[in-house]
């Protein structure tokens, strides 16, 4: 099992925004998280990305308890990457952005270059490698953010509303890309989306979140 959560809650200023009795997420599958605004999708993704810690409950990743020590968090974060709903690119070129995750891992320049090229080609942004990241459009920014995440070849890719605020052409590119990453690189993907159709099309399982709890889980390959 990739993730295993028990009695997981997250409270902000006295308001419980997430309350999961039990959650299991399998390796190499695509999970769609659907639900209205405020259902707890982003909160759950932040917990799964180890960027936030639960108020109560237990989270296990690949059979190990998450203990939230500095050392363990760094190790876990280097296996899981979250692409934000409104991704932000660092000041500098597209190349520098995609290079970041590799650089912080101490990967040599010689080994970095082909991985950056490959990631940019995967999202169809190779011609923009020297472009200033802040000058890109919304759709291009999302694609570069995906390339930046993919360059580090994560075990798990978490995407918060990957198709929100982008035109139909870019939506299609992103959806096909996620499908390809999962089938070719065996990357586990969890995506939060407003669109049930996107989840049905891509996901192996669709989890519906309402008021911080999972109201239903559908196996899309059976249904």
């Amino acid at each position: 099992m990739l993730y295993n959560a028990t009695e997981l809650t997250r409270t902000f200023k006295g308001r419980r925004v997430l309350n999961l009795k039990h959650l299991e997420i399998r390796h190499r599958k695509i999970y769609g998280l659907i639900g209205p605004n405020g259902a707890g999708k982003t909160t759950l993704l932040n917990l799964l990305a180890f960027l936030d810690r639960p108020t109560t409950g237990r989270l296990r990743f690949q059979g190990r308890d998450v203990e939230y020590t500095k050392q363990q968090l760094l190790e876990l974060r280097r296996q899981v990457v979250l692409v934000d709903q409104y991704p932000i690119l660092f000041t500098g070129s597209v190349w520098k952005n995609v290079e970041f995750g590799l650089k912080v891992r101490g990967i040599s320049k010689k080994k970095r270059s082909p991985r950056i090229e490959q990631a940019l080609e995967l999202v169809g942004m190779e011609e923009f490698r020297q472009a200033e990241a802040h000058r890109l459009s919304g759709g291009e920014t999302k694609r570069v953010a995906l390339a930046r995440a993919l360059a580090i070849q994560p075990e798990v890719l978490l995407c918060d509303e990957p198709t929100a605020n982008v035109d139909e052409e870019n939506q299609e590119i992103i959806l096909k890309l996620l499908q390809r990453i999962n089938s070719e690189q065996q990357t586990s993907i969890i995506l939060a989306t407003h669109y049930l159709a996107h989840s049905r099309r891509l996901a192996d399982y669709t989890l519906s979140l309402e008021h911080g709890t999972i109201s239903s889980q559908v196996d899309e390959k059976i249904s």
């Binding site: 990305a49 960027l51 500095k70 760094l74 974060r77 280097r78 899981v80 990457v81 979250l82 934000d84 409104y86 991704p87 932000i88 660092f90 000041t91 970041f100 995750g101 912080v104 891992r105 200033e132 802040h134 000058r135 930046r148 995440a149 580090i152």
Partner: protein
Amino acid sequence: MSLLLDSLQSAVLLLFSMDPELLNIVGVSLKVSGTSTLIASMAGIPCGFIIAHSGFYGKRLVLTCLNTLLAMPTVVIGLLVYAFISRRALFGELGLLYTQKAMVIGQVILIMPLVTSLTIAAISRIDDRYRKTALTLGATPLQMALVIVHEARYGIGAAVIAAFGRVIAEVGISMMLGGNAKGFTRTMTTAMALEYDKGEFVLAVALGLTLMTIAFGVNMLFHFFQGKTGIDAL
């Protein structure tokens, strides 16, 4: 009016003649102010980052204290440091009084709150998504901090320039702790005050012009780098 024009004319001639006394005064000013700005930046920028990024009990009080220290008159700092380094004081044996080191100590105390406060303001303006993105991409806390500092570099640069401007133009600390000794601790501002007392305006005006030119030059340099590195240029 003619006094001002005559002084200006003589001052320009003095500047172009590269008068050794004038050069020495400018050199001492730049050395002392540059050193104190460097030390205050090395301490103030990390302090500002830590304060901006951590939520500790009493943070508001710390911010209020920092803002209060911004208004501290230079003569008060001069007096305070004097109380510690004068001959019979706690650190009297170190022989710091009326040296450039004493001036640097006083100036660091003067601008450290300024660098810290402006760094806090610059860091606080940076979108939290930079922190989150750096962490999710596998950055260590130090690497994440460097990302934030890089994104806030213009704000931090402005803080350093403001601090340099503050120390190069101050008189109180330099006069009280440096003693205005010719060739050793005489800075542009203390020399200007002295020349004014003597009724000699030429050197005072020349130094004033130099001071303004240095301030203009530093700001131009800052804007040049800002413009060269991209979209944040004014």
